[in-house]
Amino acid sequence: MSYSISLTVNGAQRRVQLDDPRVTLLDLLRERLDLTGTKKGCDRGQCGACTVLVDGRRINSCLALAVTLDGADISTIEGLADGDTLHPVQAAFIEHDGFQCGYCTPGQIMSAVGLISEGHAGDDPERVREGMSGNLCRCAAYHGITEAVVDATRRMAETTERKSA
């Protein structure tokens, strides 16, 4: 049995023919849509490396079956920057050295973007730490990650204020 689904991936409409309902969103992105920025660290929702936004919410793409997402709007790390202009979270991760090997980084960044839009952590480092605890980093760049997320949160809030002023 074949399943036809339509997705918006990083703003572009994609029509996907699935010959197998077992394909997760993560494996769809990586093995079939050539979007390998999203990483597989555990495939079981235990590490956060595969975090993407689905309809604006951060989830573990390894625990979502692609076939269930017909009509969904998917954002991955590849779609975050605006051309050569990095997203404030991306820029902050570089500035605060919020990564080493970089493997968990796409997931960390997408998780941070999700966390900031959820709006519950604000720029409180302790809340950011808790909010980012679903993303493991074995290099243990947590100090820089927390600084980056706090910093990006502030910058994005300032930008929003300026725009609304």
Binding site: T36, C42, D43, L86, G102, I109, A140
Partner: protein, 750 residues
């Protein structure tokens, strides 16, 4: 592989500067390509079936069920194993390990590959492997420290002796006014880089291209060549980015070699990525240890003896890697007699290997806690006790240190932490929320080795530079720090230097391990750049049209793309102009680096540090949190302070993990690990980490290597574990002599 993605980020230039990571943009945009991101045309997926017993034989595999699954292409078992040439049971090189390439039906450890399933899709291959449903003739596995009587290790790892004796520790203990005799246990730990081991293998006749994360790219080529029976130069290994290595990605492992061999049989590119649970077996780990430490002190609290015997659990092979924990007691404290010895206990377990600070991490954990216990017995502040036993020359050997700013580390760390005034007795401090608060410290120590590497440097006709060495960036920042060194040697701003790395067709960059990569690969790059500049200078000095004509005897200073006469900087010329007049050919320099044996014998070479920890513990529930962790480290010349700080912090968080979280939990009946996933095998999450501070103390070390670099990759783990264990004692008054320290341990003594 050439430079990572170029970026809009501005960075400063050259050594000593906190240059922003050059691969930063690639990594934050998802454009950095890790091995498993490759997808050559015609590629199939490989998944191995892991043994679910630890010892015995496989008696049946349901290959029919696997093959019947739609999309399964082939099932490899011992009956039709893909041929290899080299003997998998042998250990052909020092760092190689015996492999399981389906050579027979024996199971040596749980998670060993017992079949390889190939599928058109990942889903098909994965299900095919599951459907094999292995049946076994299982035997009782040897599990744990009590599986057999400990025997002396045949030798230590890295060719070191298993036992080192300086002086008479028995006599030292006998004459001591106070002695300590304690035993500490450390668990088996698994590297668990966030990127699981992966390989994409593609054959073209008898030529092989593989994408795989690798810490020793050129060296590994020889390993693969041995097993596959082809010349090493027929193999191209690409490893531009490693998603963490920590020692586990330096040698070929069974699933990787098996995949390559299968790709040759099928004549199709194959991709294999280990599942997380498969990371707990065939790809190395830190072996569990039991360590007995005996210390004696005289009436001045100076150590009369330090006797450290470590028993490490190893696999079945005598060629194994016993976690060399006792070595941590060599080289640090000025005991008048020193002995360290390594024993082994064989288990049915995957081959252990080097894991971040191999030996030093577990050895330092036990040693630094024992030192704290001895200080407590002596009634002396633990920092003061360490200063009383400070070694100005290497204890035992009497060699001078190439440099040692440990005293400064103690002072700077203690000052920053606010160590002064710490109550000697435990359970004296309670914070405003009622949490028991404790302060502990530990000394950090890690050797400063150097390996061998080559490099090539080219000055191009346009005056820019190209440098090459097959280095490995597993997150430590080689893309950046090595380029900084190379740019310095070429006298060019960083953005005028292209750096090619991470591929085996480049000059051998050596192994990224032992905290020696920056010194080694950096040394080779610097030598190559210096050689290119020398050749350029020769051209200019011999060219009557050059302002530098005739200045060859005084030497040159390369700076910002111009060559200056060393004693007359009013005379200079741009590289491009020199090259243009000389015919426009690029100038090539070659360089290599290694430590002359005479230097190695003359000096004791270590990085040092001091780590201070504050823990807060709920007085009733005993949940623990490290609330402050201050580390001061002296590691020679720091090429990039920002990246060095990140590495040191990462190491210290590994210390938190060792002290409080990490442990493979074995079922003693079956020898299987029952927490082989990231929900069960705990490493710290973001919320576990706060209050981290790192400082470095500069050392000018003319002896360690020409660049004066010691390395920062591993030392952060050492010292930290003990500091946390000691802080827990200070908070609660309870000595827990095993790691990780758990709530139930403190509760049991309440």
């Amino acid at each position: 592989m050439s430079d990572p993605v170029t970026m809009p980020i501005r960075f400063g230039s050259n050594s000593g500067q906190s240059v922003t990571r050059r691969d930063g943009v690639a990594k934050v945009t998802g454009r950095a390509t890790y091995a498993a991101d490759n997808h050559p045309d015609g590629m199939l997926y490989a998944v191995f079936a892991p043994a679910t017993i630890a010892r015995g034989r496989v008696t049946h595999l349901d290959t029919a069920a696997a093959k019947a699954h739609p999309g399964v292409v082939e099932v490899f078992t011992p009956q039709n194993r893909p041929p290899v040439v080299g003997d998998p049971d042998k250990k052909p090189f020092m760092f190689a390990i015996p492999l399981e390439l389906l050579q027979d039906d024996t199971v040596r450890y749980a998670m060993q590959p017992i079949a390889l399933v190939i599928g058109e899709t990942l889903e098909a291959a994965t299900e095919g492997a599951r459907l094999l449903n292995p049946q076994y003739a299982a035997e009782t596995p040897r599990t744990g420290m009590d599986a057999e009587a400990a025997k002396p290790a045949p030798s230590g790892p890295f060719g070191r002796p298993a036992e080192v004796v300086h002086g008479d520790t028995a006599a030292g203990l006998a004459k001591a006014v106070e002695t300590l005799d304690v035993t500490y246990d450390t668990p088996a730990q698994y590297h668990n880089a966030m990127e699981p081991h992966a390989i994409v293998a593609k054959w073209d006749g008898d030529r092989l291209e593989i994408d795989t994360p690798n810490q020793a790219i050129v060296l590994s080529r020889a390993f693969y060549a041995y097993y596959l029976g082809i010349p090493a130069d027929h193999i191209l290994i690409r490893s531009p980015y490693l998603g963490g290595g920590f020692g586990s990605k330096a040698v070929p492992y069974s699933p990787l070699v098996l995949t390559i061999a299968a790709a040759r049989v099928l004549d199709r590119p194959l991709k294999l990525v280990l599942s997380r649970s498969q990371m707990f077996g065939p790809v190395g780990h830190r072996g569990a240890t039991r360590q007995r430490l005996r210390i004696g002190i005289d009436d001045q609290a100076q150590m009369t003896a330090l006797d450290h015997v470590a028993t490490a659990i190893v696999d079945s092979f005598d060629s194994s890697f016993p976690e060399p924990a006792a070595g941590a007691s060599q080289g640090l404290y000025a005991a008048s007699a020193l002995r360290s010895a390594l024993m082994v206990v064989h288990n049915d377990i995957g081959v252990p290997g080097a894991m971040r600070a191999p030996g030093e991490a577990s050895g330092s954990a036990a040693l630094e806690c024992a030192i704290d216990e001895m200080a407590e017995k002596a009634g002396i502040d633990p920092l003061e006790f360490r200063l009383k036993n400070y070694a100005d020359i290497e204890p035992g050997t009497g060699k001078p240190y190439s440099s040692k700013a440990l005293r400064e580390c103690y002072a700077k760390g203690a000052q920053r932490f606010g160590w002064a005034g710490r109550p000697l007795a435990p359970r004296q401090m309670v914070d405003e929320n009622g949490f028991l608060t404790g302060w502990g410290m530990g000394t950090a120590l890690f050797g400063a080795p150097m390996f061998a590497a080559q490099a090539r440097a080219v000055l191009r006709p346009d005056g820019t530079g190209l440098v090459e060495t097959a280095a490995a960036d597993m997150g430590q920042g080689a893309w950046t720090a090595l380029a900084q060194i190379a740019a310095d040697s070429l006298g060019l701003p960083l953005d005028k230097v292209e750096f090619r790395s991470g591929s085996s067709d480049l000059p051998d960059g050596g192994v990224a391990g032992g905290s020696g990569h920056t010194a080694t690969a950096g040394g080779a790059l610097h030598a190559a750049g210096t050689d290119a500049i020398r050749r350029l200078g020769e051209l200019a000095a011999a060219d009557p049209a050059s302002p530098l004509f005739g200045t060859g005897n005084q030497g040159f200073i390369p700076r910002d793309g111009r060559l200056y006469a060393a004693r007359d900087e009013s005379r200079s010329e741009a590289y491009a102009d020199i090259i243009a007049r000389a015919g426009g050919e690029a100038i090539e320099g070659k360089g290599s680096a290694s430590r002359p044996p005479e230097d190695a014998g003359r000096y004791a070479m270590y990085s040092h540090g001091a780590v201070f920890a504050e823990v807060k513990i709920d007085p009733v529930l005993f949940q623990m949190r490290v609330t402050r962790l201050v580390g001061a480290f002296a590691a020679g010349r720091i090429i990039n302070p920002k990246l060095a700080e990140s590495q040191l912090m990462g190491g210290m968080i590994w210390g938190i993990s060792f002290a409080l979280h990490e442990e493979a939990r074995f079922d003693k009946r079956t020898g299987r690990i029952m927490n082989s996933d990231l929900a069960g095998y705990h490493i710290p999450v973001n919320a576990d980490v706060r209050g981290l501070e790192v400082m470095t103390v500069h050392e000018d070390d003319p002896h360690v290597n020409p660049l004066g670099i010691k390395g920062v990759g591993e030392i952060g783990v050492t010292g930290t574990v003990g500091a946390i264990g000691n802080a827990i004692w200070h908070a609660t008054g309870r000595r827990i002599r095993h790691f990780p320290i758990r709530i139930e341990d403190l509760l049991a003594q309440d």
